[in-house]
């Protein structure tokens, strides 16, 4: 059934139309300091509950759902935003210490501080 409804959108269950399964990459920015990477992601319409951030040895994975749904009886006159979930996957090749991650979501902007692993941090070597 899902195959048919994906081929012919008109047959798809209209109540599930809000969750289109569509995924878009959010706008993001990465800045580097000697100690860490700071990741800034624009996630308009996402609240804390809809946000999922996973950091492991190989990648940073972000999934975010929109908190707002079009109320029943409203018609869209003009749309420029997709009804999609945000997905962002950044491979870091163990450059990031997964235990030291700080994240803050405010006004639709997620700021993540990813500490570099000890091997990547600049080290000053004292010369005897």
């Amino acid at each position: 059934m899902s195959l048919i409804s994906s081929l012919i959108p008109a047959l798809a269950d209209k109540t599930a139309a809000a969750d289109t399964g569509l995924k878009v990459a959010p706008r993001y920015e990465i800045n580097e300091t000697p100690e860490s990477f700071s990741l800034l992601v624009h996630l308009p319409g996402v609240s804390k509950d809809g946000l999922e951030l996973n950091v492991d040895q190989a990648e940073v994975r972000l999934n975010a759902r929109l908190a707002w749904r079009k109320p029943e009886g409203w018609t869209a006159l003009h749309r420029e935003t997709p009804d999609a979930t945000y997905e962002l996957v950044l491979a870091h090749e163990s450059a990031v210490d997964a235990d030291k991650v700080q994240a803050e979501l405010r006004d639709g902007v997620l700021r993540v501080t990813l500490s570099k692993t000890a091997a990547l941090k600049p080290r000053k070597i004292a010369v005897d």
Partner: protein, 148 residues
Amino acid sequence: MRIIRYTQPSGRTYCAPLARSPWTGLEAEVNRLFEAALSDTAPAETAVRFPLDIYEDAHLTTVRAELPGVDRAAISVELADGTLQIGAKRVHKTGDREETVELRRSVRVPEGTVQADKISAAYENGVLTVTLPKREEAKPRKVTVAVA
């Protein structure tokens, strides 16, 4: 009075200001297309354009604008001459350098359809919602007509 010899305007003199290259217009169009396509790769914080949606139901029109990370106090919503103006500011910090990005968009609102004194706006999760209640006259009305 001076007498100036009349010269027949030729195609070439007429085109003089544009005569740099016959492809100027095309070049500009191609540049514009490339800029539009590449604008998505602009850094998030300094992107000037912001998307908005417009919804409607029987009683109100709602404009939802995606404005993540803007200064809440500097958001301005104005309705004048049938145009709804949305303005915002975003401060972008890179190191010690600060850069303010001005964001502005306008939406045409047909005059006489909105109760201008009852417009409200809210900013939540980086989305600005402007609610424009419709005037009684602009609401859809159901008229029952008795057929004799």
